[in-house]
């Protein structure tokens, strides 16, 4: 059974804004029945202010697809279209207190439906450039298509390369056999064979100073969100792939501390393009276990 958060379950059992919306003037359809999930997002937009007055959904899909759709409609109601376009799939997942890695695509579908609905309102055509394959790395929710494309685009040849570029395989390492198989296939296309002993191509290295600045910058971006909940976060130190932070105010000792740290770690990994571990320091260092749990 999936480890769904209470919030996911709540939105699945009692979905908000379900069913057709009369007077909708922006409709986004994504997914298909063959893929096992399909979502129609219907927006009623005030033409003068471009504000979303109402949002409804219809979804064919699993529990988390329905919960993500429900969450999406709640998030965007009252937003202007431009504000709504700023909503990321991570925002949808965060709103639901997280989704299992296998289910992150449900939140991606929500974001795509939003883009499609806005495009529909504005009379534009929206086309999706993202193709999804079988999930390979369950720790970081990386699928086969992304791994293949990245190997091709960057001429990668080792598992370590793949981890450096996509994060896939950087957690529990159980998917290394799968990554090796993809490498063998793609390498065969360019007439090479996979050599498990080959050295990784050095990752496009960021200088030490640039890296620390990037970390500071990313944490600065996260702070307003935490401050809104009367919390805060401070960067304490960086040691290799460990980033030590201190959670303050309402965040400190909050039950959601582990979830927050997991989110911070995810944002840092994305910003740096490498695997890092966020370690809390101070009175609540026990939450470290929680942070690790998000990676495996």
């Amino acid at each position: 059974m999936w480890d769904y958060s209470e919030k996911v379950k709540e939105h699945f059992y009692n979905p908000r804004n379900a069913g057709p919306l009369d007077g909708a003037n922006g409709i986004g359809d994504v997914g298909s029945i063959s893929c096992g999930d399909a979502l129609r997002l219907m927006l009623k937009v005030d033409p003068d202010s471009e504000r979303i007055l109402d949002a409804h959904f219809q979804t064919f899909g699993c529990g988390s697809a329905i919960a993500s759709s429900s969450a999406l409609t709640e998030i965007v109601k009252g937003m202007t279209l431009d504000e709504a376009l700023g909503v990321s799939n991570q925002d949808i997942a965060d709103y639901l207190d997280g989704l299992p890695p296998e289910k992150m695509h449900c939140s991606v579908m929500g974001r795509e439906a939003l883009q499609a609905a806005v495009a529909n309102y504005r009379g534009e055509t929206w086309s999706d450039d993202h193709e999804e394959g079988a999930l390979v790395c369950k720790c970081f929710a990386i699928d086969a298509v992304l791994i293949e494309d990245t190997i091709r685009a960057n001429q990668l040849s080792t598992v370590e390369d793949v981890t450096n570029y996509t994060k896939a395989g950087g957690g529990c390492a159980a998917c290394h056999e799968g990554i090796e198989e993809i490498l063998a296939r793609v390498l065969a296309e360019r007439g090479e064979s996979f050599d498990p002993t080959a050295k990784a191509t050095p990752a496009p290295a960021m200088g030490n100073l640039a890296r620390i600045r990037k970390i500071e910058q990313t944490i600065e971006q996260i702070r307003p969100t935490l401050q809104r909940d009367r919390g805060d976060i401070e960067l304490i130190d960086v040691d290799g792939n460990k980033i030590f932070v201190s959670l303050k105010g309402a965040c400190s000792g909050c039950q959601m501390e582990a979830v927050t740290l997991g989110g911070v770690q995810q944002k840092l990994i994305e910003a740096l393009g490498e695997f890092v571990k966020v370690v809390p320091v101070g009175a609540h260092a026990h939450a470290r276990d929680g942070a690790c749990a998000t990676e495996a």
Binding site: P15, A18, C62
Partner: protein, 402 residues
Amino acid sequence: MGPIYLDNNATTQCDPRVIEAMMPYFTEQFGNPSSMHSFGNKVGLAVKKARAQVQTLIGAEHDSEVIFTSCGTESDSTAILSALRAQPERKEIITSAVEHPAVLSLAEHLEKEGYTVHRVGVDGKGRIDLDDYRSKLSANVAVASFMWANNETGTIFPVEHMAELAHEAGVMFHTDAVQAVGKLPIDLASTKIDMLSLSGHKLHAPKGIGVLYLKRSTRFRPLLRGGHQERGRRAGTENVPAIVGLGLAAELALEHMAFENTTVRRMRDQLQAGILAQVPNAFATGDVDSRLPNTANIAFEYIEGEAILLLLNKDGIAASSGSACTSGSLEPSHVMRAMGIPYTAAHGTVRFSLSRHTRDCEIERVIQVVPPIVARLRKLSPYWAGDKPLAEPDKAFAPSYA
């Protein structure tokens, strides 16, 4: 009413009598059956008794044809790899498109190692294509491996007949009978089946115990080499408590064989009829004329299986689904795809599997609960309007990508 467990093809509740029989082998009867002293001797006799109980259930000619393993998967791997190692000149295997992953993943892996795998297809009811099967039998084939009954739909393959055909062509025959043993009468002595896998936890024995039946004089190469346990065919100290438990479970399964095929079958039929009478756009998958007495697999069109399971679970009912989302993959069950079940239904299949512990009142409750759940999810579905599906769902719902 307590929770209702209709997922017995996934695993069964260990029978309390089985647990009771096992307990002494965790405590005072802790000896190693191989030991020369009395601690070991008594335990050795208990293993011998269990072997005879399993022998009786599957109708094996000799008790030495029963090899205890750790699970059904180990039995499958042992059988198929043994056939390949014992006949290194044969580089092909035949199996079906609807096998359990225990066989299919192994076959896929063997393909990567250079073996040729023939996957015989099934028709819309899940029945095997016997002509195709016949055409693939040759002196290049090391083993034909076909499940006795399908875990998702319960559809029964005519493995006794298929074993005859294999035998005529000089090909070894293995059957994964994990779902069939304990539910169907089996008399291996009168068949040409060379190897059979069974698993304890599917018949009210504990998890972690399985059996490979190996017909006498079938050429064999062990998977695990080491000590002389199981006559050197499966090394490793015996899991004595589980073996004793499986022995008693086999005896109980034989006692309940008639009950399974009368009362359990009737409850299954009532469940299926009760649901289909109330829910439009739903149908039973598989070969309803030839399937396990405990299994009903129902496809609900235009809704998704995991969502159904979550709502059933909220109402205290446990079942399972072939939907993509329950496995975390993007494709619905390979069994549904092999049968050509359309995508509109394949994602919404729910398997109800009963056992001798299932009660009539439970079936009545499930028949009450399912229709409103289906209606509720269809209300959310973009493919459904009012009380029926959209006339042309593909056109009515036109995503900018698929």
